[in-house]
């Protein structure tokens, strides 16, 4: 093979193996919609959700855990279909895996300390989104991360604001909208 042909072959091969981050868009859309809906239902029907001492806890832990399982199944299937895992894909998997563990820990700690965990979870989520957006060079996700961090700061400095409403708005702005933007993105993200 001539040198030019070899260089061309390397370029063609590398170009065929795309980053394919669009496949992660359904994760953002799903979680954005789920958290926003859960927040609005809780906001609209607080007596029903907080009927017993642990009903709100079950509501906010059981449903997201089911969501996590569904997300993991979806991502495993996507990985199998793609046939490869990129360096960025692996980094994102680790980042969001750590977030899931940290999220569960924050909820458990908040139970023992009898505190509302929403501001801490939103801050953590915002940081994760910002890292993700910067890593994949996709501005809507970075902006979403900033919006979620702003929501967490708002909750810290204005405790009288309804945390459920802010949680729903943050999920919509930080996850749902950037997820849609990623899904319909024409660029090769």
């Amino acid at each position: 093979m001539k040198t030019q042909e070899q260089i061309q072959l390397i370029n063609d091969t590398i170009n065929k193996t795309k980053e394919n981050l669009k496949s992660s868009a359904p994760n953002f859309i799903f979680w954005g919609a789920l958290i926003a809906i859960l927040s609005l239902i809780h906001y609209g029907f607080p007596d029903f959700i907080q009927k017993t001492r642990y009903s709100a806890l079950i509501y906010w832990v059981a449903i997201p855990v089911i969501g996590m399982v569904l997300t993991v199944i979806y991502n495993i299937k996507t990985r199998k279909q793609t046939g490869y895992e990129t360096h960025i894909g692996r980094a994102l998997k680790i980042i969001w895996g750590v977030f899931n563990v940290a999220w569960i820990l924050l909820v458990v700690i908040s139970i023992f300390k009898n505190q509302n965990p929403v501001d801490s979870i939103l801050f953590l989520l915002g940081v994760m989104l910002l890292i993700t957006g910067l890593l994949i060079r996709f501005k809507p996700i970075s902006f979403g991360g900033v919006a979620v961090i702003a929501c967490s700061v708002l909750l810290v400095y204005n405790p009288e604001v309804n945390s459920l409403l802010i949680n729903g708005i943050a999920a919509f702005l930080g996850l749902f909208l950037p997820g849609l933007a990623l899904y319909y993105s024409k660029s090769n993200v």
């Binding site: 072959l9 590398i14 046939g83 490869y84 895992e85 990129t86």
Partner: protein, 96 residues
């Protein structure tokens, strides 16, 4: 002073395998077969040669009772690929 090209990577199939693996964290056998457009037997031979040279590592496992082979590039492989690419560019520049 030009270094000779890596004989192992002059082969198009092996070059494609290493180029793909340099871009990804790990890669399935079937994807490599699809990219290289070669037969299962030939791909197995080329992977074995790359593994013996320490350029790649091969992981075998089972998934739903079916054997699954995935590959990843080693540090030696990345260095060899980078050197090979750099040498190719040098030879090309010389011709221009």
């Amino acid at each position: 002073m030009f270094s000779p090209l890596d004989k192992l990577l002059v082969n198009p199939t092996r070059l494609m395998i290493v180029a793909v693996l340099a871009k990804v964290e790990n890669c399935d056998f079937n994807y490599l077969k699809q990219i290289t457009e070669t037969t299962q037997g030939n791909l197995s031979i080329q992977l074995k040669k790359l593994k013996e040279s320490g350029y790649i590592s091969i992981h075998k496992s089972f998934e739903n009772n079916y054997p699954k082979t995935s590959c990843s590039i080693t540090k030696t492989g990345i260095k060899a690929f980078e050197d090979h690419f750099s040498n190719l560019k040098n030879y090309q520049d010389l011709k221009l």
